[in-house]
Amino acid sequence: MSDSIQTIEGTIKKEIQENPILIYGKGTKEAPRCGFTLETIQFFEKYGHPYTVIDVLNDMPKREVLSKMTNWPTLPKVFIGGEFYGDTDILDEMEKKGEVKPLLDRVFQKK
């Protein structure tokens, strides 16, 4: 019996709250299996804050729930301070406008 939608949603909500920077992606931090997941890892490496990568490559039910929750069809999916921020397409634009550093400083100050 696969996890019900509610259980999967509950797990995701918990993961989002527990990890200031959370990347749902394909593969792991040590072995990313997709260029965009790797790109997202490299993006956060620059800032030096701890971040978590959760591999959902083979977890289709969780990927579907994530896509519904965020109205965003692709991976990776980035959450910062419990908020959804898309992927590096979004983060690169935010970085150009100098919005990423203050956001991360604020999120890690609260810890």
């Binding site: 069809p73 692709t74 898309g86």
Partner: protein, 80 residues
């Protein structure tokens, strides 16, 4: 695999009048960089702009003709 004009057609169906430029990222016609200029983006944040593009490309992404897209979205006055 999808051709550029079919891809552009999908975007312009959702965003009439949009100026769309497409770059094939890997030469396999399924990984694209798409730049869209449209005043439909006015007053919309980045996430919602990109959602518009994903909704426009929902069909070819679902059926696998498109594997990945990198998106740039601008309004007309943002390109000046």
């Amino acid at each position: 695999m999808i051709t550029e004009d079919v891809l552009i057609g999908y975007v312009r169906t959702a965003l009439p009048g949009a100026v769309v430029s497409v770059t094939d990222r890997t030469g396999t016609m399924d990984h694209f960089m798409i730049r869209v200029v449209s005043d439909h983006f006015k007053g919309k944040g980045l996430l919602d702009r990109h959602r518009l593009i994903y909704q426009a490309l929902n069909e070819p992404m679902k059926d696998g003709r498109i594997h990945a897209v990198e998106i740039k979205t601008l309004t007309r006055d943002e390109i000046k």
